[in-house]
Assembly symmetry: C2
Homo-oligomer: 439 residues x 2
Amino acid sequence: MKQEKKVALSTQGYRGTRDFYPKDMRLLTSLYQKIHIIMHSFGYEEYSGPFLEFLDLYAAKTSEEIVREQLYSLKDKGDRTLAIRPEMTPTLARMVAAKSKELPKPIRWYSIPTCMRFERPQRGRLREFNQLNVDVLGGNVLDEDIEILLTIINIFESLGASFDKFRIYINHRGLVDDFFSQVLKINQSTNAPLLRLLDKKDKLSEDEFTTECLKLDLLTDQIEQINSFLSADIDDLCKLFVENNEHVKILKDRIDIVNKISGSECVQFSPSITRGFDYYTGIVFEVFDMNPENRRALFGGGRYDNLVSAFGCDSLPGVGYGVSDVALLNFMETHKLTPELKRTTDVCVLRFQETDRMHQLELAQNLRKHELSVESSITNIKFGKQIAYANRICAKSVAFRGEDEIKNKTFCVKFLDKEQQIVYPYSSEGFEDFKKQLF
Amino acid sequence: MKQEKKVALSTQGYRGTRDFYPKDMRLLTSLYQKIHIIMHSFGYEEYSGPFLEFLDLYAAKTSEEIVREQLYSLKDKGDRTLAIRPEMTPTLARMVAAKSKELPKPIRWYSIPTCMRFERPQRGRLREFNQLNVDVLGGNVLDEDIEILLTIINIFESLGASFDKFRIYINHRGLVDDFFSQVLKINQSTNAPLLRLLDKKDKLSEDEFTTECLKLDLLTDQIEQINSFLSADIDDLCKLFVENNEHVKILKDRIDIVNKISGSECVQFSPSITRGFDYYTGIVFEVFDMNPENRRALFGGGRYDNLVSAFGCDSLPGVGYGVSDVALLNFMETHKLTPELKRTTDVCVLRFQETDRMHQLELAQNLRKHELSVESSITNIKFGKQIAYANRICAKSVAFRGEDEIKNKTFCVKFLDKEQQIVYPYSSEGFEDFKKQLF
């Protein structure tokens, strides 16, 4: 019988997703570990939610661009319309709303969900990414805003990034609204589309931006005003308005306090930060990599007042941000902050021949009970090659029991970095002594 | 202008998915932590892969039932047909195949991916679950089989489960094939459907099972033979075959060695274990909860010889298993092994009034630098209520700086369990002293 020739399956995954081999996974885990430590240091608790939600949740909460262009949606076999989460905030809102009365306030939560958006994959941006989400709700507006900005600064510190490597640009939605209504004096229906246009301005040429403005029926004068607003510093801005603008004061307070507490100039005002999400109502901010080769937003976030009101709850204002692992890993690489992480096997348990198996397995299990990372040989390669393997994976030591050791109730250890060989009693004390010697 | 009344969004997530509030997340994290420790103790490295893969990958690798009935599939906006992973093994196969030459052998890998299957949610089974996957490839068949079974036993030990709480039932696909061809003497085309029927036999009544057998053109004699095969013990089995059956010996070896090394009778032969996945070729096993109220399979796994050959690679045999967090959490609950896990805030930094903010923020940041978990008050409640909050979240202590402390360059700490109040110098030494006192 002739066998049919089958076409081989591709080993390529779907574009914009990643395979994490152990080496990659060690790096991701070490990044997560740093994040967990920082979040814990601020008393933030981890939460998590479903990968799939009803499409309606995103239709109600997420930016129009994402829902229209970037959502992975599907129907389940019961014809329910679902979507893969493009961001975590709608789930956060749903979860908080579900228990809004009973949850102790303030709510300090974080999560690192995997999210997906249909985008063109590029440096620092993929279709599948893990996005750290940090939010605080139910406290003072000023205190929350400060705390959320401090968590960002502490994350960068824990990555080993000095203050000159990144910058937090901050703005206030209310200030933009004031500018629209008091200076531009535009019709309120133009607010949302103009806000979205400002959010993507840095992707457009000057001409393209002007064309888009004209489409919104803006006059040449107004376009000029927009351009001067976007390049204004915080003191210039005050002059734009008839009276002292309360949102300028709000911004100044946050910038001054966070910079003073962190001993830096990390936080700066930028009128061009508007953020694409519709739910922001207060401060909005983005964090940029200061490396000229990588001038892109890493973190993005802001304050929202009405996150849970769509669920019929009393309003519970808060502030939060998201940052993807892709952007953070990219930042670390750009600034040579990526740690080198090796396997951390404490001991390889060897055997002279297959018939030693029972002694080998028993020794390995005993060492595991003493919290060591133990690889037991499971191939029939010769003793010397087993040591070579242990060296290749950077194991700290090898251990074995030959005839003598079995007779004398001992086990023998060779420390690979020291070329030192020690015989220990085959007992709890012996295992503990060996462990002490290892560390 | 009258406001339109909007229908409130539902706070219910999609059925069969879970919301992990911080309390739930602490439990999940502590389970994961135990798993990471056990896997590390065997030298297994963590890997991860995409949540979405091309549908073809599952069509080629996964059980027919899953692909036909349980897959969440979708098209992306570029019309590519994708599916949410129902299991990790196809991704493992793809990743190993992509680097089959360069990966050092043996490959000892594990992962805890989120997977989805469209099933009726029930106790111990949801639509969205996190499935621990453990696999070893490229070693000796016997050594690998033993090691993989030992990892299961060690996981149960780390959960605090004694040996009487669970049982590993093991069988061999080759033995089932021998029974089909040498005893039943069925046509080879009946193998696959009969195997699948045996896999779901425990969900059928005796009559239903007989009906299904008759549909496969089996005779009454053959059905009787199947029933006696399924209730046979390992020594009975030998009598069924003309010659000593090699697969019986393979099973006996594994059962003897693993039980001896673990000092238990955890591993037992069961001819009714067949597993639904088509890729198994050697031992197959399922782990059962021994509690009569919860007699269901927790772990399932087996040996596969041709996992990567569909990718055009040389064969690389291995053995592995999967177990969902839903099943493990359920097991822990059934046996009262669920730990009680509280928030672990070390210190709440209080303030007498809002104008103390700068001193409060500075103290909090300083304590964070000394690796403490610090919650800084961000509401305007009175001092006494701030202490009450610290008590409610089970913080170990509260710290603050009043006028005296600021003047004297100190900070004051109240240890909440001891009703003890201590003043420390406001310096690195003071922070360290406080930390020592805390632990």
